[in-house]
Protein backbone atom coordinates (compact mmCIF):
# COMPACT_ATOMS: atom_id res chain seq x y z
CA UNK A 1 0.00 0.00 0.00
CA UNK A 2 1.36 3.46 -0.80
CA UNK A 3 1.63 6.21 1.80
CA UNK A 4 -1.47 8.10 0.62
CA UNK A 5 -3.66 4.99 0.81
CA UNK A 6 -2.25 4.11 4.24
CA UNK A 7 -2.98 7.64 5.51
CA UNK A 8 -6.57 7.44 4.24
CA UNK A 9 -6.97 4.15 6.10
CA UNK A 10 -5.68 5.72 9.33
CA UNK A 11 -7.89 8.81 9.00
CA UNK A 12 -10.97 6.68 8.35
CA UNK A 13 -10.09 4.43 11.23
CA UNK A 14 -9.13 6.93 13.91
CA UNK A 15 -10.86 10.22 13.03
CA UNK A 16 -8.14 12.69 14.00
CA UNK A 17 -4.47 11.69 13.71
CA UNK A 18 -1.34 13.78 14.17
CA UNK A 19 1.28 14.01 11.46
CA UNK A 20 3.79 12.59 13.92
CA UNK A 21 1.63 9.54 14.67
CA UNK A 22 1.20 8.87 10.95
CA UNK A 23 4.95 9.20 10.33
CA UNK A 24 5.76 6.84 13.20
CA UNK A 25 3.18 4.27 12.19
CA UNK A 26 4.11 4.24 8.50
CA UNK A 27 7.84 4.64 9.19
CA UNK A 28 8.15 7.60 6.80
CA UNK A 29 9.36 11.18 7.29
CA UNK A 30 7.06 14.05 8.29
CA UNK A 31 7.77 15.54 4.83
CA UNK A 32 6.53 12.35 3.16
CA UNK A 33 3.31 12.54 5.20
CA UNK A 34 2.82 16.16 4.25
CA UNK A 35 3.39 15.39 0.55
CA UNK A 36 0.94 12.50 0.58
CA UNK A 37 -1.72 14.65 2.32
CA UNK A 38 -1.25 17.26 -0.42
CA UNK A 39 -1.63 14.63 -3.17
CA UNK A 40 -4.87 13.48 -1.58
CA UNK A 41 -6.11 17.07 -1.40
CA UNK A 42 -5.26 17.59 -5.08
CA UNK A 43 -7.43 14.69 -6.19
CA UNK A 44 -10.39 15.98 -4.19
CA UNK A 45 -10.13 14.69 -0.62
CA UNK A 46 -10.88 17.42 1.91
CA UNK A 47 -8.45 16.90 4.80
CA UNK A 48 -8.48 19.57 7.50
CA UNK A 49 -5.41 20.06 9.64
CA UNK A 50 -4.61 21.92 12.84
CA UNK A 51 -1.95 21.69 15.53
CA UNK A 52 -3.46 18.46 16.87
CA UNK A 53 -3.65 16.59 13.60
CA UNK A 54 -5.54 15.81 10.43
CA UNK A 55 -9.24 14.99 9.88
CA UNK A 56 -10.81 13.62 6.67
CA UNK A 57 -14.00 15.62 6.12
CA UNK A 58 -14.91 14.77 2.51
CA UNK A 59 -14.20 11.94 0.10
CA UNK A 60 -14.35 12.92 -3.57
CA UNK A 61 -16.61 11.24 -6.12
CA UNK A 62 -13.76 9.57 -7.96
CA UNK A 63 -13.37 5.97 -9.02
CA UNK A 64 -9.97 5.69 -7.36
CA UNK A 65 -8.70 2.17 -6.68
CA UNK A 66 -8.66 2.74 -2.91
CA UNK A 67 -12.32 3.82 -3.08
CA UNK A 68 -13.53 0.92 -5.20
CA UNK A 69 -11.32 -1.73 -3.58
CA UNK A 70 -12.99 -1.40 -0.21
CA UNK A 71 -16.37 -2.23 -1.76
CA UNK A 72 -15.27 -5.12 -3.97
CA UNK A 73 -16.65 -8.56 -3.15
CA UNK A 74 -14.95 -10.45 -5.98
CA UNK A 75 -12.18 -12.95 -6.32
CA UNK A 76 -10.82 -11.78 -9.69
CA UNK A 77 -12.81 -9.04 -11.38
CA UNK A 78 -11.57 -5.53 -10.62
CA UNK A 79 -8.97 -6.86 -8.18
CA UNK A 80 -6.35 -4.78 -9.94
CA UNK A 81 -7.54 -1.29 -10.91
CA UNK A 82 -5.65 1.25 -12.97
CA UNK A 83 -7.25 4.67 -12.59
CA UNK A 84 -6.87 7.64 -14.94
CA UNK A 85 -8.23 11.16 -14.66
CA UNK A 86 -8.34 11.26 -18.43
CA UNK A 87 -7.29 8.87 -21.18
CA UNK A 88 -7.79 8.30 -24.91
CA UNK A 89 -9.71 5.05 -24.58
CA UNK A 90 -9.89 2.65 -21.63
CA UNK A 91 -10.27 -0.29 -24.06
CA UNK A 92 -7.05 0.64 -25.79
CA UNK A 93 -5.16 0.90 -22.50
CA UNK A 94 -6.64 -2.40 -21.27
CA UNK A 95 -5.51 -4.12 -24.48
CA UNK A 96 -2.03 -2.73 -23.89
CA UNK A 97 -2.01 -4.15 -20.35
CA UNK A 98 -3.30 -7.49 -21.65
CA UNK A 99 -0.50 -7.60 -24.24
CA UNK A 100 1.93 -7.01 -21.39
CA UNK A 101 0.49 -10.00 -19.54
CA UNK A 102 -1.66 -8.38 -16.82
CA UNK A 103 -3.83 -10.77 -14.77
CA UNK A 104 -7.46 -11.57 -15.61
CA UNK A 105 -9.83 -9.13 -13.96
CA UNK A 106 -7.56 -6.09 -14.40
CA UNK A 107 -9.81 -3.05 -14.68
CA UNK A 108 -8.93 0.27 -16.34
CA UNK A 109 -11.11 3.18 -15.20
CA UNK A 110 -10.97 6.76 -16.43
CA UNK A 111 -12.99 9.76 -15.23
CA UNK A 112 -13.03 11.06 -18.82
CA UNK A 113 -12.26 9.50 -22.21
CA UNK A 114 -10.99 11.77 -24.96
CA UNK A 115 -11.43 9.33 -27.83
CA UNK A 116 -13.80 6.73 -26.37
CA UNK A 117 -14.69 3.94 -28.76
CA UNK A 118 -18.08 2.46 -29.62
CA UNK A 119 -18.92 -0.63 -31.62
CA UNK A 120 -17.94 -0.96 -35.30
CA UNK A 121 -15.40 1.85 -35.20
CA UNK A 122 -17.81 4.46 -33.86
CA UNK A 123 -16.87 7.04 -31.24
CA UNK A 124 -18.30 7.13 -27.71
CA UNK A 125 -18.79 10.43 -25.91
CA UNK A 126 -17.43 10.07 -22.36
CA UNK A 127 -17.77 13.19 -20.19
CA UNK A 128 -16.92 13.53 -16.49
CA UNK A 129 -19.48 11.82 -14.27
CA UNK A 130 -19.89 8.67 -16.37
CA UNK A 131 -18.44 5.24 -15.70
CA UNK A 132 -15.88 4.44 -18.39
CA UNK A 133 -14.09 1.21 -17.65
CA UNK A 134 -12.53 -1.77 -19.42
CA UNK A 135 -12.07 -5.23 -17.97
CA UNK A 136 -9.42 -7.74 -19.10
CA UNK A 137 -10.61 -11.36 -19.40
CA UNK A 138 -8.62 -14.46 -20.27
CA UNK A 139 -11.14 -17.21 -20.90
CA UNK A 140 -9.96 -20.54 -22.29
CA UNK A 141 -12.34 -20.52 -25.30
CA UNK A 142 -12.36 -20.31 -29.09
CA UNK A 143 -13.04 -16.93 -30.77
CA UNK A 144 -16.34 -18.30 -32.13
CA UNK A 145 -17.54 -18.82 -28.56
CA UNK A 146 -16.73 -15.29 -27.41
CA UNK A 147 -19.97 -13.46 -28.33
CA UNK A 148 -21.82 -15.12 -25.44
CA UNK A 149 -19.39 -13.47 -23.00
CA UNK A 150 -20.35 -10.03 -24.24
CA UNK A 151 -23.96 -10.92 -23.38
CA UNK A 152 -22.75 -11.68 -19.85
CA UNK A 153 -21.54 -8.07 -19.58
CA UNK A 154 -24.98 -6.74 -20.47
CA UNK A 155 -26.63 -9.07 -17.96
CA UNK A 156 -24.28 -7.90 -15.18
CA UNK A 157 -25.02 -4.20 -15.81
CA UNK A 158 -28.78 -4.67 -16.13
CA UNK A 159 -29.01 -6.73 -12.96
CA UNK A 160 -26.82 -4.24 -11.04
CA UNK A 161 -29.10 -1.39 -12.12
CA UNK A 162 -32.17 -3.35 -10.99
CA UNK A 163 -30.63 -3.67 -7.54
CA UNK A 164 -30.49 0.13 -7.22
CA UNK A 165 -34.09 0.41 -8.38
CA UNK A 166 -33.52 1.26 -12.05
CA UNK A 167 -35.62 -0.88 -14.36
CA UNK A 168 -33.19 -1.50 -17.20
CA UNK A 169 -33.56 -3.89 -20.13
CA UNK A 170 -31.24 -5.21 -22.82
CA UNK A 171 -31.56 -4.48 -26.51
CA UNK A 172 -29.82 -7.04 -28.69
CA UNK A 173 -26.95 -7.50 -28.74
CA UNK A 174 -25.84 -5.51 -25.76
CA UNK A 175 -27.28 -2.03 -25.23
CA UNK A 176 -28.70 -1.36 -21.78
CA UNK A 177 -31.87 0.73 -22.00
CA UNK A 178 -33.97 2.58 -19.45
CA UNK A 179 -37.38 3.62 -20.77
CA UNK A 180 -36.16 2.58 -24.22
CA UNK A 181 -33.25 5.02 -24.07
CA UNK A 182 -29.63 3.93 -24.01
CA UNK A 183 -27.88 4.25 -20.67
CA UNK A 184 -24.95 1.88 -21.27
CA UNK A 185 -23.05 0.39 -24.19
CA UNK A 186 -20.56 -2.44 -24.18
CA UNK A 187 -17.64 -2.82 -26.57
CA UNK A 188 -15.96 -6.20 -26.48
CA UNK A 189 -12.69 -6.71 -28.29
CA UNK A 190 -10.53 -9.79 -28.49
CA UNK A 191 -7.16 -11.05 -29.58
CA UNK A 192 -6.19 -14.62 -30.22
CA UNK A 193 -5.27 -17.45 -32.52
CA UNK A 194 -7.80 -19.24 -34.70
CA UNK A 195 -8.39 -21.88 -32.01
CA UNK A 196 -8.05 -19.94 -28.80
CA UNK A 197 -8.63 -16.51 -27.38
CA UNK A 198 -5.57 -14.86 -25.83
CA UNK A 199 -7.57 -12.15 -24.11
CA UNK A 200 -10.82 -10.25 -24.26
CA UNK A 201 -11.29 -6.61 -23.26
CA UNK A 202 -14.82 -5.68 -22.27
CA UNK A 203 -15.45 -1.95 -22.20
CA UNK A 204 -18.43 -0.56 -20.30
CA UNK A 205 -19.67 2.94 -21.08
CA UNK A 206 -22.32 3.88 -18.53
CA UNK A 207 -24.04 7.27 -18.55
CA UNK A 208 -24.15 7.81 -14.79
CA UNK A 209 -24.14 11.28 -13.28
CA UNK A 210 -23.56 13.90 -15.98
CA UNK A 211 -26.27 16.19 -17.41
CA UNK A 212 -27.81 14.80 -20.60
CA UNK A 213 -26.79 18.09 -22.24
CA UNK A 214 -23.17 16.91 -22.10
CA UNK A 215 -24.02 14.48 -24.93
CA UNK A 216 -24.10 15.70 -28.56
CA UNK A 217 -27.61 16.68 -29.67
CA UNK A 218 -27.78 13.96 -32.34
CA UNK A 219 -27.73 11.15 -29.77
CA UNK A 220 -29.44 12.95 -26.87
CA UNK A 221 -33.00 11.98 -27.79
CA UNK A 222 -32.24 8.27 -27.65
CA UNK A 223 -29.92 8.45 -24.63
CA UNK A 224 -30.45 8.85 -20.90
CA UNK A 225 -28.37 8.97 -17.73
CA UNK A 226 -28.84 7.32 -14.36
CA UNK A 227 -29.05 10.72 -12.67
CA UNK A 228 -31.95 11.69 -14.94
CA UNK A 229 -33.79 8.42 -14.40
CA UNK A 230 -33.25 8.31 -10.62
CA UNK A 231 -33.58 12.01 -9.95
CA UNK A 232 -30.29 11.94 -8.04
CA UNK A 233 -26.65 11.02 -8.51
CA UNK A 234 -25.75 7.36 -8.26
CA UNK A 235 -22.84 6.27 -6.07
CA UNK A 236 -20.53 5.33 -8.89
CA UNK A 237 -17.92 3.39 -6.92
CA UNK A 238 -20.56 1.16 -5.34
CA UNK A 239 -22.08 0.53 -8.77
CA UNK A 240 -18.68 -0.37 -10.24
CA UNK A 241 -18.08 -2.85 -7.42
CA UNK A 242 -21.56 -4.31 -7.85
CA UNK A 243 -21.18 -4.73 -11.62
CA UNK A 244 -17.86 -6.52 -11.03
CA UNK A 245 -19.51 -8.86 -8.54
CA UNK A 246 -22.44 -9.60 -10.83
CA UNK A 247 -20.18 -10.08 -13.82
CA UNK A 248 -17.90 -12.48 -11.99
CA UNK A 249 -20.92 -14.64 -11.17
CA UNK A 250 -22.47 -14.72 -14.65
CA UNK A 251 -19.02 -15.09 -16.34
CA UNK A 252 -18.62 -18.43 -14.59
CA UNK A 253 -21.87 -19.84 -15.94
CA UNK A 254 -22.43 -22.10 -18.95
CA UNK A 255 -23.25 -20.35 -22.27
CA UNK A 256 -26.83 -21.68 -22.21
CA UNK A 257 -27.35 -20.22 -18.76
CA UNK A 258 -25.87 -16.84 -19.77
CA UNK A 259 -28.25 -16.76 -22.73
CA UNK A 260 -31.22 -17.59 -20.47
CA UNK A 261 -30.32 -14.75 -18.11
CA UNK A 262 -29.86 -12.43 -21.08
CA UNK A 263 -33.31 -13.31 -22.39
CA UNK A 264 -34.90 -12.64 -18.99
CA UNK A 265 -33.22 -9.21 -18.87
CA UNK A 266 -33.91 -8.35 -22.51
CA UNK A 267 -36.77 -6.39 -24.02
CA UNK A 268 -35.92 -7.45 -27.59
CA UNK A 269 -37.37 -10.96 -27.67
CA UNK A 270 -41.06 -10.94 -28.63
CA UNK A 271 -40.97 -7.56 -30.34
CA UNK A 272 -40.98 -6.45 -33.93
CA UNK A 273 -37.46 -5.35 -34.79
CA UNK A 274 -35.44 -4.14 -37.70
CA UNK A 275 -31.78 -5.10 -37.76
CA UNK A 276 -29.45 -3.27 -40.11
CA UNK A 277 -26.67 -5.64 -41.12
CA UNK A 278 -23.77 -5.30 -43.53
CA UNK A 279 -25.80 -7.06 -46.21
CA UNK A 280 -29.00 -5.05 -45.82
CA UNK A 281 -31.73 -5.23 -43.21
CA UNK A 282 -33.87 -7.89 -41.59
CA UNK A 283 -37.34 -7.00 -40.30
CA UNK A 284 -39.69 -9.19 -38.31
CA UNK A 285 -40.45 -10.74 -34.96
CA UNK A 286 -37.40 -11.20 -32.70
CA UNK A 287 -38.14 -14.80 -31.83
CA UNK A 288 -35.19 -16.07 -29.83
CA UNK A 289 -31.42 -16.23 -29.45
CA UNK A 290 -29.58 -19.27 -30.76
CA UNK A 291 -26.89 -21.07 -28.75
CA UNK A 292 -24.19 -18.62 -29.85
CA UNK A 293 -26.13 -15.47 -28.96
CA UNK A 294 -27.25 -14.73 -32.53
CA UNK A 295 -30.75 -13.26 -32.97
CA UNK A 296 -33.43 -15.30 -34.75
CA UNK A 297 -35.85 -13.04 -36.63
CA UNK A 298 -39.07 -14.34 -38.24
CA UNK A 299 -40.46 -12.22 -41.05
CA UNK A 300 -44.13 -11.83 -42.09
CA UNK A 301 -43.84 -14.75 -44.50
CA UNK A 302 -42.69 -17.02 -41.66
CA UNK A 303 -39.12 -17.13 -42.93
CA UNK A 304 -36.51 -17.22 -40.15
CA UNK A 305 -33.14 -15.46 -40.39
CA UNK A 306 -30.26 -15.79 -37.92
CA UNK A 307 -28.55 -12.43 -37.45
CA UNK A 308 -24.99 -12.50 -36.07
CA UNK A 309 -24.34 -8.78 -35.98
CA UNK A 310 -25.98 -5.49 -36.75
CA UNK A 311 -27.86 -2.54 -35.30
CA UNK A 312 -31.21 -3.52 -33.86
CA UNK A 313 -34.15 -1.16 -33.64
CA UNK A 314 -37.27 -1.94 -31.60
CA UNK A 315 -40.26 -1.14 -33.82
CA UNK A 316 -43.20 -2.31 -31.66
CA UNK A 317 -43.90 -1.69 -27.97
CA UNK A 318 -43.08 -4.16 -25.24
CA UNK A 319 -44.81 -7.53 -25.52
CA UNK A 320 -47.49 -8.18 -22.90
CA UNK A 321 -47.11 -10.71 -20.16
Amino acid sequence: MNTADAILDMLRDKGKVSGEAIANRLKVSRTAVWKAINTLREVGYVIEGDAKGYVLTRTPDLLLPQEVNGLLATKTMGRRIEHHYTIGSTNERARQLAEEGCPEGTLVISEVQETGKGRIGRSWVSPKGGIWMSLVLKPDIRPRDAPVLTLAGGVAVTEALSRIGVQATLKWPNDVLVNERKVCGILTEMSGEMERVHYIVMGFGLNANFPLEDLPSEIRSRSTTLRKEMGEAVERKRLVADIMKGFEAVYGEAPSSIIERWKRASSTIGRTVQVVTKKGFVKGLAKDLDGTGALIVRDDAGQETTVYSGDCQHLSGLPEG
Copy 2:
Protein backbone atom coordinates in the same frame (compact mmCIF):
# COMPACT_ATOMS: atom_id res chain seq x y z
CA MET B 1 13.14 5.39 -53.00
CA ASN B 2 16.14 5.90 -50.73
CA THR B 3 19.64 6.58 -52.04
CA ALA B 4 20.91 3.02 -51.52
CA ASP B 5 17.99 1.51 -53.46
CA ALA B 6 18.45 4.06 -56.25
CA ILE B 7 22.15 3.26 -56.48
CA LEU B 8 21.42 -0.47 -56.74
CA ASP B 9 18.99 0.26 -59.56
CA MET B 10 21.63 2.27 -61.42
CA LEU B 11 24.33 -0.39 -60.93
CA ARG B 12 22.02 -3.13 -62.16
CA ASP B 13 20.96 -1.03 -65.11
CA LYS B 14 24.30 0.35 -66.29
CA GLY B 15 27.00 -2.04 -65.08
CA LYS B 16 29.72 0.43 -64.16
CA VAL B 17 28.80 3.91 -62.92
CA SER B 18 31.00 6.66 -61.54
CA GLY B 19 30.35 8.22 -58.15
CA GLU B 20 29.94 11.56 -59.86
CA ALA B 21 27.29 10.24 -62.28
CA ILE B 22 25.36 8.74 -59.38
CA ALA B 23 25.56 11.98 -57.38
CA ASN B 24 24.36 14.03 -60.35
CA ARG B 25 21.54 11.68 -61.23
CA LEU B 26 20.25 11.38 -57.66
CA LYS B 27 20.95 15.01 -56.80
CA VAL B 28 22.88 14.09 -53.67
CA SER B 29 26.46 14.82 -52.50
CA ARG B 30 29.42 12.54 -53.30
CA THR B 31 29.62 11.88 -49.56
CA ALA B 32 26.01 10.65 -49.54
CA VAL B 33 26.81 8.28 -52.41
CA TRP B 34 29.86 6.97 -50.58
CA LYS B 35 27.84 6.43 -47.40
CA ALA B 36 25.07 4.57 -49.22
CA ILE B 37 27.60 2.32 -51.00
CA ASN B 38 29.10 1.49 -47.61
CA THR B 39 25.66 0.64 -46.18
CA LEU B 40 25.07 -1.71 -49.10
CA ARG B 41 28.43 -3.35 -48.55
CA GLU B 42 27.65 -3.82 -44.86
CA VAL B 43 24.46 -5.79 -45.59
CA GLY B 44 26.33 -8.06 -47.98
CA TYR B 45 26.36 -6.49 -51.44
CA VAL B 46 29.79 -6.78 -53.04
CA ILE B 47 30.41 -3.50 -54.87
CA GLU B 48 33.83 -3.04 -56.39
CA GLY B 49 35.15 0.45 -57.03
CA ASP B 50 38.04 1.95 -58.95
CA ALA B 51 38.87 5.37 -60.44
CA LYS B 52 36.24 4.87 -63.17
CA GLY B 53 33.34 3.89 -60.96
CA TYR B 54 31.44 1.23 -59.12
CA VAL B 55 30.38 -2.29 -60.20
CA LEU B 56 27.93 -4.59 -58.39
CA THR B 57 29.49 -8.06 -58.42
CA ARG B 58 27.40 -9.97 -55.86
CA THR B 59 23.93 -9.64 -54.42
CA PRO B 60 23.56 -11.13 -50.94
CA ASP B 61 21.02 -13.83 -50.07
CA LEU B 62 18.91 -11.52 -47.96
CA LEU B 63 15.17 -10.92 -48.06
CA LEU B 64 15.66 -7.17 -48.38
CA PRO B 65 12.65 -5.20 -49.65
CA GLN B 66 14.54 -4.04 -52.73
CA GLU B 67 15.35 -7.68 -53.57
CA VAL B 68 11.82 -9.01 -53.09
CA ASN B 69 10.02 -5.98 -54.55
CA GLY B 70 11.48 -6.51 -58.01
CA LEU B 71 10.01 -10.02 -58.12
CA LEU B 72 6.56 -9.24 -56.72
CA ALA B 73 3.60 -9.70 -59.04
CA THR B 74 0.89 -8.73 -56.55
CA LYS B 75 -1.48 -5.84 -56.04
CA THR B 76 -1.53 -5.86 -52.23
CA MET B 77 0.36 -8.73 -50.59
CA GLY B 78 3.95 -7.88 -49.70
CA ARG B 79 3.68 -4.47 -51.32
CA ARG B 80 5.11 -2.94 -48.15
CA ILE B 81 7.95 -4.92 -46.63
CA GLU B 82 9.68 -4.25 -43.33
CA HIS B 83 12.94 -6.17 -43.15
CA HIS B 84 14.90 -7.06 -39.99
CA TYR B 85 18.23 -8.82 -39.60
CA THR B 86 16.97 -10.14 -36.30
CA ILE B 87 13.78 -9.66 -34.28
CA GLY B 88 11.92 -11.24 -31.37
CA SER B 89 8.92 -12.40 -33.40
CA THR B 90 7.71 -11.22 -36.82
CA ASN B 91 4.10 -11.89 -35.77
CA GLU B 92 4.48 -9.58 -32.80
CA ARG B 93 5.98 -6.81 -34.91
CA ALA B 94 3.27 -7.24 -37.58
CA ARG B 95 0.58 -6.93 -34.90
CA GLN B 96 2.21 -3.73 -33.72
CA LEU B 97 2.17 -2.35 -37.26
CA ALA B 98 -1.47 -3.42 -37.66
CA GLU B 99 -2.38 -1.61 -34.42
CA GLU B 100 -0.70 1.48 -35.86
CA GLY B 101 -2.89 1.21 -38.96
CA CYS B 102 -0.52 -0.19 -41.59
CA PRO B 103 -2.10 -1.16 -44.93
CA GLU B 104 -3.30 -4.67 -45.76
CA GLY B 105 -0.53 -6.74 -47.28
CA THR B 106 2.24 -5.27 -45.11
CA LEU B 107 4.88 -7.97 -44.70
CA VAL B 108 7.42 -8.23 -41.87
CA ILE B 109 10.46 -10.37 -42.72
CA SER B 110 13.37 -11.23 -40.46
CA GLU B 111 16.50 -13.20 -41.27
CA VAL B 112 16.44 -14.62 -37.72
CA GLN B 113 13.80 -14.75 -34.97
CA GLU B 114 14.99 -14.82 -31.38
CA THR B 115 11.67 -15.76 -29.81
CA GLY B 116 9.68 -17.07 -32.77
CA LYS B 117 6.17 -18.22 -31.87
CA GLY B 118 4.34 -21.40 -32.82
CA ARG B 119 0.70 -22.33 -32.35
CA ILE B 120 -0.86 -22.54 -28.88
CA GLY B 121 1.91 -20.62 -27.14
CA ARG B 122 4.74 -22.85 -28.38
CA SER B 123 8.09 -21.53 -29.51
CA TRP B 124 9.39 -21.75 -33.08
CA VAL B 125 13.10 -22.18 -33.79
CA SER B 126 14.09 -19.71 -36.52
CA PRO B 127 17.75 -19.82 -37.55
CA LYS B 128 19.44 -17.89 -40.38
CA GLY B 129 18.52 -19.27 -43.80
CA GLY B 130 14.82 -19.82 -43.11
CA ILE B 131 11.91 -17.70 -44.26
CA TRP B 132 10.32 -16.04 -41.24
CA MET B 133 7.63 -13.62 -42.27
CA SER B 134 4.28 -12.25 -41.12
CA LEU B 135 1.59 -10.78 -43.32
CA VAL B 136 -1.06 -8.25 -42.18
CA LEU B 137 -4.59 -8.87 -43.50
CA LYS B 138 -7.71 -6.77 -43.01
CA PRO B 139 -10.60 -8.88 -44.26
CA ASP B 140 -14.16 -7.68 -43.68
CA ILE B 141 -15.29 -10.86 -41.89
CA ARG B 142 -16.44 -12.14 -38.50
CA PRO B 143 -13.91 -13.87 -36.19
CA ARG B 144 -15.82 -17.16 -36.62
CA ASP B 145 -15.09 -17.04 -40.35
CA ALA B 146 -11.35 -16.49 -39.93
CA PRO B 147 -10.11 -20.13 -39.72
CA VAL B 148 -10.71 -20.63 -43.45
CA LEU B 149 -8.19 -17.86 -44.20
CA THR B 150 -5.46 -19.71 -42.37
CA LEU B 151 -6.13 -22.66 -44.68
CA ALA B 152 -5.54 -20.28 -47.59
CA GLY B 153 -2.03 -19.65 -46.24
CA GLY B 154 -1.24 -23.36 -46.27
CA VAL B 155 -2.58 -23.70 -49.80
CA ALA B 156 -0.41 -20.81 -51.03
CA VAL B 157 2.79 -22.31 -49.56
CA THR B 158 2.09 -25.85 -50.79
CA GLU B 159 1.29 -24.69 -54.31
CA ALA B 160 4.39 -22.43 -54.42
CA LEU B 161 6.56 -25.39 -53.38
CA SER B 162 5.00 -27.55 -56.10
CA ARG B 163 6.00 -24.94 -58.67
CA ILE B 164 9.67 -25.33 -57.69
CA GLY B 165 9.38 -29.10 -57.88
CA VAL B 166 8.88 -29.91 -54.18
CA GLN B 167 5.96 -32.27 -53.59
CA ALA B 168 4.48 -30.82 -50.42
CA THR B 169 1.19 -31.71 -48.76
CA LEU B 170 -0.91 -30.20 -45.98
CA LYS B 171 -1.55 -31.83 -42.64
CA TRP B 172 -4.64 -30.48 -40.92
CA PRO B 173 -4.98 -27.76 -39.98
CA ASN B 174 -2.01 -26.08 -41.55
CA ASP B 175 1.35 -27.81 -41.43
CA VAL B 176 3.17 -28.14 -44.74
CA LEU B 177 4.91 -31.51 -45.04
CA VAL B 178 7.47 -32.96 -47.45
CA ASN B 179 7.82 -36.72 -47.19
CA GLU B 180 5.67 -36.53 -44.04
CA ARG B 181 8.12 -34.16 -42.34
CA LYS B 182 7.27 -30.61 -41.44
CA VAL B 183 8.82 -27.95 -43.64
CA CYS B 184 6.52 -25.02 -42.81
CA GLY B 185 4.16 -23.95 -40.04
CA ILE B 186 1.62 -21.15 -40.06
CA LEU B 187 0.54 -19.14 -37.01
CA THR B 188 -2.52 -16.99 -37.58
CA GLU B 189 -3.50 -14.43 -34.97
CA MET B 190 -6.36 -11.97 -35.00
CA SER B 191 -7.76 -8.96 -33.24
CA GLY B 192 -11.30 -7.69 -33.49
CA GLU B 193 -14.72 -7.08 -32.05
CA MET B 194 -17.27 -9.85 -31.61
CA GLU B 195 -18.79 -9.10 -35.02
CA ARG B 196 -15.82 -8.09 -37.08
CA VAL B 197 -12.13 -8.75 -37.44
CA HIS B 198 -9.92 -5.66 -37.19
CA TYR B 199 -6.87 -7.42 -38.53
CA ILE B 200 -5.27 -10.82 -38.97
CA VAL B 201 -1.56 -11.53 -38.85
CA MET B 202 -0.48 -14.64 -40.69
CA GLY B 203 2.98 -15.83 -39.78
CA PHE B 204 4.86 -18.22 -42.08
CA GLY B 205 7.79 -20.20 -40.72
CA LEU B 206 9.47 -22.00 -43.62
CA ASN B 207 12.56 -24.18 -43.14
CA ALA B 208 14.40 -23.14 -46.29
CA ASN B 209 18.19 -23.21 -46.52
CA PHE B 210 19.69 -23.97 -43.10
CA PRO B 211 21.20 -27.34 -42.09
CA LEU B 212 18.71 -29.58 -40.30
CA GLU B 213 21.23 -29.70 -37.44
CA ASP B 214 20.30 -26.09 -36.64
CA LEU B 215 17.01 -27.40 -35.24
CA PRO B 216 16.87 -28.84 -31.72
CA SER B 217 17.23 -32.63 -31.69
CA GLU B 218 13.74 -33.21 -30.27
CA ILE B 219 12.02 -31.86 -33.42
CA ARG B 220 14.69 -32.82 -35.99
CA SER B 221 13.30 -36.27 -36.77
CA ARG B 222 9.91 -34.91 -37.79
CA SER B 223 11.25 -31.80 -39.57
CA THR B 224 12.92 -31.15 -42.87
CA THR B 225 14.27 -28.21 -44.88
CA LEU B 226 13.91 -27.30 -48.53
CA ARG B 227 17.68 -27.51 -49.00
CA LYS B 228 17.67 -31.10 -47.74
CA GLU B 229 14.73 -32.09 -49.94
CA MET B 230 16.00 -30.36 -53.08
CA GLY B 231 19.70 -31.05 -52.60
CA GLU B 232 20.43 -27.35 -53.13
CA ALA B 233 19.53 -23.97 -51.68
CA VAL B 234 16.24 -22.44 -52.75
CA GLU B 235 16.13 -18.84 -53.98
CA ARG B 236 14.34 -17.44 -50.95
CA LYS B 237 13.35 -14.06 -52.37
CA ARG B 238 11.69 -15.64 -55.41
CA LEU B 239 9.84 -18.07 -53.16
CA VAL B 240 8.61 -15.23 -50.94
CA ALA B 241 7.33 -13.35 -53.99
CA ASP B 242 5.67 -16.49 -55.33
CA ILE B 243 3.95 -17.29 -52.02
CA MET B 244 2.63 -13.72 -51.91
CA LYS B 245 1.25 -14.05 -55.44
CA GLY B 246 -0.37 -17.40 -54.71
CA PHE B 247 -1.79 -16.20 -51.43
CA GLU B 248 -3.29 -13.09 -52.99
CA ALA B 249 -5.13 -15.27 -55.49
CA VAL B 250 -6.51 -17.82 -53.00
CA TYR B 251 -7.33 -15.11 -50.41
CA GLY B 252 -9.80 -13.61 -52.87
CA GLU B 253 -11.72 -16.85 -53.31
CA ALA B 254 -14.94 -17.97 -51.60
CA PRO B 255 -14.51 -20.10 -48.43
CA SER B 256 -15.89 -23.20 -50.20
CA SER B 257 -13.31 -22.80 -52.95
CA ILE B 258 -10.46 -22.31 -50.45
CA ILE B 259 -11.54 -25.50 -48.68
CA GLU B 260 -11.62 -27.39 -51.99
CA ARG B 261 -8.09 -26.26 -52.82
CA TRP B 262 -6.95 -27.16 -49.32
CA LYS B 263 -8.38 -30.66 -49.72
CA ARG B 264 -6.61 -31.14 -53.03
CA ALA B 265 -3.30 -30.11 -51.44
CA SER B 266 -3.82 -32.09 -48.23
CA SER B 267 -2.66 -35.57 -47.33
CA THR B 268 -4.88 -35.76 -44.23
CA ILE B 269 -8.24 -36.57 -45.81
CA GLY B 270 -8.73 -40.31 -46.29
CA ARG B 271 -6.17 -41.33 -43.69
CA THR B 272 -6.43 -42.69 -40.19
CA VAL B 273 -5.57 -39.87 -37.82
CA GLN B 274 -5.38 -39.14 -34.13
CA VAL B 275 -6.16 -35.59 -33.07
CA VAL B 276 -5.19 -34.46 -29.59
CA THR B 277 -7.66 -31.81 -28.45
CA LYS B 278 -8.10 -29.95 -25.18
CA LYS B 279 -10.74 -32.44 -24.13
CA GLY B 280 -8.85 -35.62 -24.98
CA PHE B 281 -8.23 -37.27 -28.32
CA VAL B 282 -10.20 -38.31 -31.36
CA LYS B 283 -9.06 -41.27 -33.46
CA GLY B 284 -10.49 -42.46 -36.75
CA LEU B 285 -10.77 -41.80 -40.45
CA ALA B 286 -10.25 -38.15 -41.47
CA LYS B 287 -13.34 -37.96 -43.64
CA ASP B 288 -13.70 -34.36 -44.73
CA LEU B 289 -13.55 -30.70 -43.76
CA ASP B 290 -16.79 -28.92 -42.92
CA GLY B 291 -17.64 -25.47 -44.29
CA THR B 292 -15.62 -23.71 -41.57
CA GLY B 293 -12.45 -25.75 -42.05
CA ALA B 294 -13.06 -28.07 -39.10
CA LEU B 295 -12.01 -31.72 -39.50
CA ILE B 296 -14.66 -34.45 -39.55
CA VAL B 297 -13.33 -37.69 -38.06
CA ARG B 298 -15.25 -41.00 -38.23
CA ASP B 299 -14.32 -43.55 -35.59
CA ASP B 300 -14.49 -47.35 -35.90
CA ALA B 301 -18.05 -47.39 -34.60
CA GLY B 302 -19.09 -45.02 -37.40
CA GLN B 303 -19.52 -42.09 -35.03
CA GLU B 304 -18.52 -38.73 -36.55
CA THR B 305 -16.80 -35.98 -34.56
CA THR B 306 -16.11 -32.45 -35.78
CA VAL B 307 -12.74 -31.25 -34.50
CA TYR B 308 -12.16 -27.50 -34.46
CA SER B 309 -8.63 -27.46 -33.11
CA GLY B 310 -5.91 -29.78 -31.98
CA ASP B 311 -2.73 -31.55 -32.99
CA CYS B 312 -3.27 -34.05 -35.77
CA GLN B 313 -1.11 -37.10 -36.27
CA HIS B 314 -1.23 -39.23 -39.44
CA LEU B 315 -1.41 -42.88 -38.33
CA SER B 316 -1.85 -44.70 -41.65
CA GLY B 317 0.03 -44.29 -44.92
CA LEU B 318 -1.24 -42.23 -47.82
CA PRO B 319 -4.56 -43.36 -49.29
CA GLU B 320 -4.31 -44.86 -52.77
CA GLY B 321 -5.67 -43.17 -55.86
